[in-house]
């Protein structure tokens, strides 16, 4: 690991000040479950690390603006233990599917949203686009875990976030602060993610010197939700695909639906096709299956990952059934 300065701010403004002396060479440290590994592998080589864990305002969970304002530093364990999340079943289920108490107690909700891809080419120093002399390694080499959507450009990795599908399906927003000391904006989480087209671009809209300080969830308003991760291993593992559904059901029929898939594209993947397939329907095995079919109807798998189409289809179906209380979640 390259040497670096270490900063330990106690407030958001202090953090921004410490971030913005040399923002391009500064990184934010929260739970460390991703960043420390990337620094040890020399993939990320900052001159300064700003540890934000001691900023009290970013640990809160408060009612705000007709919803719930969740501090970025809430851990997966906090999400599981805090009854304020009980109405957001899909968010709790996403935390529960991370099978390790060590990650649950260290990993933070915003750290998860900003988690860098697990693409093995990226993790071995080939950059987000995984190019070797112009050749796309996931296409020419082994792309079994790579994207089946949004992969027509050079980026073939999949978004790593476990929470993003559920949060986007709920219409969550992120509060981004910086780079200026008084700058803050609320952005729908759906628009937080970007697909890089060059090696210099990243996976989110965050600019150097900016931090995600909070996540805002709208009031549940009677909507129901479910999240389904298809895991290859029983232990700590990344999903092959996941899906989240948030549904409003009135008179036994779906009046509003939001379906988002995870780990299938360089960003969380909103499926309007699946949502449309559900509108006006009663949730049954058949209608959930039809929504799953619709969700993957436009998939474009690579040579090694055609199997992920069926996995994503099943994830969508089960997330919908889980939201409707018709599936407990076990495979």
């Amino acid at each position: 690991m390259k040497s670096f300065e270490f900063a330990n701010p106690q407030s958001e403004s202090e953090a921004l000040e410490l971030m913005n002396e040399n923002p391009e060479q500064t990184v934010v440290l929260a739970g460390g479950t991703d960043l420390i590994s990337l620094m040890q592998a020399d993939i990320i080589r900052p001159d300064r690390v700003v540890d934000i864990k001691n900023i009290d305002s970013m640990h809160d969970v408060q009612e705000a603006d007709g919803g719930l304002m969740v501090g970025a530093l809430n851990t997966l364990e906090d999400v599981l233990d805090n009854s304020r999340f009980a109405d957001y079943a899909s968010v709790v289920q996403a935390a529960d599917a991370v099978h390790a108490i060590q990650i649950q107690s260290s990993g933070t909700i915003a750290g998860d949203l900003c988690h860098l891809p697990n693409c093995w080419y990226y993790r071995n120093g080939y950059g987000l686009l995984a190019l070797d002399n112009g050749t796309s390694l996931p296409e020419a080499g082994d792309g079994r875990y790579h994207a089946i959507f949004g992969n027509s450009g050079p980026a073939k990795f999949v978004s790593a976030s476990r929470f993003a599908p559920a949060l986007i399906a709920w219409g969550a927003k992120v509060r981004i602060i910086g780079p200026g000391p008084d700058e803050a904006e609320m952005l729908p989480l759906e628009y937080f993610y970007t697909t890089p087209r060059t090696q210099r671009q990243g996976t989110t809209v965050l600019k150097p010197g900016q931090i995600v300080s909070h996540i805002w969830l709208p009031k549940p308003g009677g909507a129901v939700s479910g999240n389904y991760d298809v895991l290859q291993l029983e232990g700590l593992d990344w999903p092959l695909a996941s899906a989240a559904a948030t549904l409003t059901i009135s008179g036994g029929r779906v009046s509003e639906a939001r379906i988002v898939m995870g780990h299938v594209a360089p960003t969380p993947w909103v499926s309007h096709d699946a949502a449309t397939a559900l509108l006006g329907k009663t949730i049954t095995e058949q209608t959930a299956q039809a929504a799953g079919d619709a969700a993957v109807s436009r998939a474009t798998p690579l040579k090694d990952n055609g199997y992920k189409v069926q996995i994503a289809r099943a994830a969508v179906k089960r997330a919908i059934l889980r939201a409707a209380g018709l599936c407990e979640g076990g495979l």
């Binding site: 739970g31 479950t33 040890q40 364990e77 390790a100 108490i101």
Partner: protein
């Protein structure tokens, strides 16, 4: 890392005093001269620490240790290389294998994904802290009884993880145990022994 050194025992330098400035020399000056300006300077909290070796005080298994560490030193490296506490294990570049599990302020943590400098002032428990003389943690006794080790490399991390898990989930069932301990990997496959040990302890109310 030749320039690193460590000194055991309690420190007489206050946390704030050495947090200020870039390390030992400045902190020592502030204490030694007692000059008003130095005291005033020390009152202003410094949030930025240099990249170089500096005093880091770790509280491990109830004892304070003053080390000279760079910020880039992980807690696992400090425990193993500077404190000779080699129970927590390193597994190559794989940082999520569980063999490095320690307990920090009651929470189970992979020590290789924490910087030592991050955990100053926190109570760190390693596997060595779970047995003192004849006072052996019941998790260790249960591991022996259920033959929960083979090569033993993952065992210290497993023991610490089970201790942390039981503290929070004293009445857990097998399914919950397997899920909670999913971050600990055993190449020999001693999972059955580990879960037998944990299930028995849960039946006794977490011991």
């Amino acid at each position: 890392m030749k320039d690193r050194q460590h000194a055991g025992g309690n420190t007489t330098v206050s946390r704030r005093a050495f947090l200020q400035g870039s390390g030992a020399a400045m902190a020592a000056t502030a204490i030694a001269t007692g000059a008003n300006e130095a005291v005033a300077e020390a009152e202003k909290p410094s949030r930025l620490r240099s990249a170089g070796p500096q005093k880091v005080v770790l509280t491990v298994n109830g004892k304070q240790h003053t080390l000279m560490l760079e910020p880039r030193v992980t807690l696992l490296e400090a425990l193993r290389n500077d404190l000779n506490l080699t129970g927590a294990k390193e597994v190559g570049n794989v940082s999520n294998d569980g063999a490095d599990t320690v307990i920090i302020d009651g929470k189970p943590v992979f020590a290789s994904t924490r910087l030592a400098i991050e955990v100053e002032g926190k109570n760190i428990t390693t596997v060595e802290g779970l047995s003192e003389g004849k006072n052996v943690d019941e998790v260790i006794t249960a591991f022996v009884k259920h033959d929960a080790t083979q090569c033993g490399y993952c065992t210290p991390g497993f023991v610490v993880a089970v201790r942390a898990f039981l503290n929070k989930n004293p009445g857990a069932n097998l399914e919950q145990i397997r899920k909670g301990l999913g971050g600990n990997i055993c190449r020999c496959g001693t999972y059955a022994g580990v879960t037998d040990a944990a299930v028995e302890l849960c039946k006794q109310g977490g011991a």
